[in-house]
């Protein structure tokens, strides 16, 4: 697969999984309903894998997230590279011990004797009227956990390239797929995308908007609005939230002197707080004003449409934050 192709993120992730399994016989896939007997996943992300690579390497599991993560961790300790699916991000809560006390720590606690090269794929996001237990973005928990990386693509091409790199990476990676972008088509060039490297979505001299995942899409839309007002926003898609690309972000803010950080996760104690703090610490004298943050409301994700829409950031709320940053 080399010539670029238009596809959506589901297809891109599926293609990356196929490529990874093809390239390395140690790559395994497990999770609820992931095999073709179960239709290759509830939305078909893993479709075709078990048929192509066999039921030994691609396994559907009972509803047992602790066992799913344990199976992935154990196999990874002896040379395999399991890609484990936790269907929705809220369900990491029943497997947190395996992820944070074990996957993230075994390399360190063993003094480097063992390592856990696993990828935890999960999807999430509001906008589907799924309410309080099926919509949360919890990346901040894992960014606060030393030893695990957090990768959050915003488009099919990055999803493909980042997933390839995550699977090849020798450490555990939490790979968060934004449901709201699953069906948005994009050009995929089938190239690996390095972890820890941000992408400048659009250049601009007036303000830097730093985001990732669905937030990066809203930020790009906001930039279009801002352009109409003559405001040139530089939009940065972090792609990897931990470790994040400080060089790219700091270089941009040094240039613009103003920054806004955007994510759908609850604003308080979210990823934006860390990025805002570092920018203030590193670029104090270059800043023309305080870094602004845009994030989800301090509440569980509500069901009713008007509330669900008010909960999450959008182009308008980002534009408002940029105006505040420029004020």
């Amino acid at each position: 697969m080399t010539n670029p192709k238009k596809m959506n993120m589901i297809e891109a992730v599926n293609a990356a999984l196929h490529a990874a399994c093809e390239a390395d016989a140690n790559v395994l896939v497990l999770g609820e309903d992931v095999a073709d007997r179960e239709e290759g996943g509830v939305v078909g992300v893993t479709r075709g894998l078990s048929t192509k690579f066999g039921d030994d390497r691609v396994k559907s599991t009972p509803i047992s997230e602790q066992a799913i993560m344990g199976a992935a961790i154990g196999a990874s300790l002896i040379g395999f590279r399991p890609v484990a699916e936790i269907m929705l991000m809220n369900f990491v809560t029943v497997a947190m011990d395996m992820i944070t006390n074990h996957a993230a720590k075994l390399r360190f606690m063993s003094g480097g004797q063992t390592s856990v090269p696993i990828v935890i794929r999960t999807m999430t996001g509001s906008g589907f009227s799924q309410g309080g237990q099926h919509s949360d973005f919890l990346e901040a928990w894992f960014a606060h956990t030393p030893g695990i990386k957090v990768v959050m693509p915003s488009n099919p091409s990055d999803a493909y390239g980042l997933l390839l790199s995550a699977i090849r990476d020798d450490d555990p990676v939490m790979f968060v797929e934004p449901m709201a972008l699953y069906w948005t088509p994009g050009e995929v060039d089938f190239q690996p995308v390095p972890l820890g490297k941000a992408r400048i979505v659009q250049e601009g001299a007036d303000v830097t908007i730093i985001s990732y995942s669905i937030g990066a899409v809203h930020s790009a839309a906001a930039a279009v609005e801002l352009a109409k007002e003559g405001i040139a926003a530089e939009v940065i898609d972090l792609r990897t939230v931990s470790p994040w690309d400080r060089e790219t972000v700091l270089a941009s803010v040094k240039k613009t002197g103003r920054a806004v950080v955007v994510h759908e996760a609850v604003k308080e104690y979210g990823v934006g707080a860390e990025i805002s703090s570092v920018i203030h610490e590193q670029l104090w004298s270059d800043l023309k004003g305080p870094v602004q943050r845009v994030g989800g409301a301090y509440s569980p994700v509500p069901f009713a449409k008007p509330l669900e829409q008010a909960f999450a950031p959008n182009a308008a709320s980002i534009v408002a934050a940029v105006r505040a940053a420029l004020a």
């Binding site: 179960e38 239709e39 559907s60 509803i63 047992s64 602790q66 029943v94 009713a304 509330l307 909960f311």
Partner: protein
């Protein structure tokens, strides 16, 4: 099971009323969704109506239940008000949860409907707590945890049954075994033939019954309720049943063999109970037609009333996060 207490005529009629309400309401919900007037994940309960009807026949408003996303049948059987249901589905303020919970989190404490969860297995630990509280209150209340066959393989099941048995709590663990967990068949989720045998591992009574047979399920629940009220501890009941409409609305259930589907639909328990009522002279065609007409009318009234409710004010995002309203 031959020695089980049997439902009398009045009880059978009440169970049919409940089952008919659940079926007709479920069909009505799907009609609204198909028409695009309701947008939400909806987990049809068609095929499982007899179980909650038999449970409710053995409970009072003082007894507690916890159920899951697939729980409108459990709710309606226990007396969840139709308008409060439709208001919630429509995301309106007249919904029982003011539109903030939605179909996956229906709650109505006045009649003991304490929690509806979207997390597999999580109805059980909370039901254990309700059972503990009931035991402390000493009024003979019972707590029922509804869950599915797939949920029987998650850790919460294990911890909950062990604790309830150890503490002799008045809890009934009601596994509604509809043979599938999302796309995974029961046979592909565990090696054992039935879940009830696990009860022995906790020193608890366990039984598997045909959940679609009014006599069997009524008797099993009655015995469990009497045991609980007498202070003799918890029971695990596995009620065998089937879900007619796949995992959620939109799921064509291609993973279910067609003949299995056909066979189950043919054994549809709701018309079967209807036929029996007539055969046993408990009611005649006219009586039942009248009852069904009343139910339909009540549903139509509720549908209209549901949509008539106001959409929640954005300020609701700041209410009910804590006891006080957020600034």
């Amino acid at each position: 099971m031959s020695n089980y207490p049997k439902p009398d005529a009045a009880t059978l009629l009440a169970m049919y009323k409940s089952a008919a309400l659940i079926r007709l309401n479920d069909e009505r919900v799907i009609k609204e969704m198909t028409a695009g007037r309701l947008m939400m994940p909806f987990y049809s309960t068609q095929g499982q109506e007899i179980i909650p009807s038999a449970v409710a026949a053995n409970l009072t408003d003082e007894d507690y239940i916890c159920t899951i996303y697939r729980g409108t049948h459990d709710m309606l059987a226990k007396g969840f008000p139709l308008e409060a249901l439709w208001g919630e589905l429509a995301g309106r303020v007249n919904g029982s949860c003011k539109g903030k919970g939605g179909p996956m989190h229906l709650t109505y404490p006045q009649k003991g409907m304490m929690v509806t969860t979207g997390i597999v297995g999580s109805s059980m630990p909370i039901a254990v707590g309700l059972g503990w509280g009931a035991k402390l209150k000493g009024k003979g209340q019972v707590s029922v945890a509804n869950f599915g066959d797939g949920a029987a393989n998650i850790g919460a099941f294990h911890e909950s049954l062990n604790l309830a048995a150890l503490w002799d709590l008045p809890v009934i663990f009601l596994c509604q075994n509809n043979r599938y967990a999302e796309h995974t068949s029961f046979a592909n989720s565990t090696r054992v033939k039935n879940i009830s045998m696990r009860a022995a591992g906790y020193g608890m009574e366990g039984v598997t019954v045909n959940g679609n047979d009014p006599d069997e399920i009524y008797g099993a629940v009655r015995i469990a309720v009497e045991r609980a009220r007498a202070g003799d501890g918890p029971t695990l009941i596995e009620a065998m049943t089937f879900r007619f409409n796949g995992h959620l609305v939109g799921d064509a259930a291609g993973y279910i063999p067609r003949d299995e589907l056909a066979d189950c639909r043919e054994k549809d328990p709701v018309p079967a109970l209807r036929t029996r009522l007539i055969a046993d002279g408990i009611a005649n065609e006219a009586d039942l037609a009248g009852i069904e007409a009343e139910i339909k009318a009540a549903i139509e009234t509720a549908v209209a009333a549901g949509y008539a409710g106001a959409l929640p004010d954005i300020a609701e995002l700041k209410r009910d996060v804590f006891a006080y309203e957020l600034a």
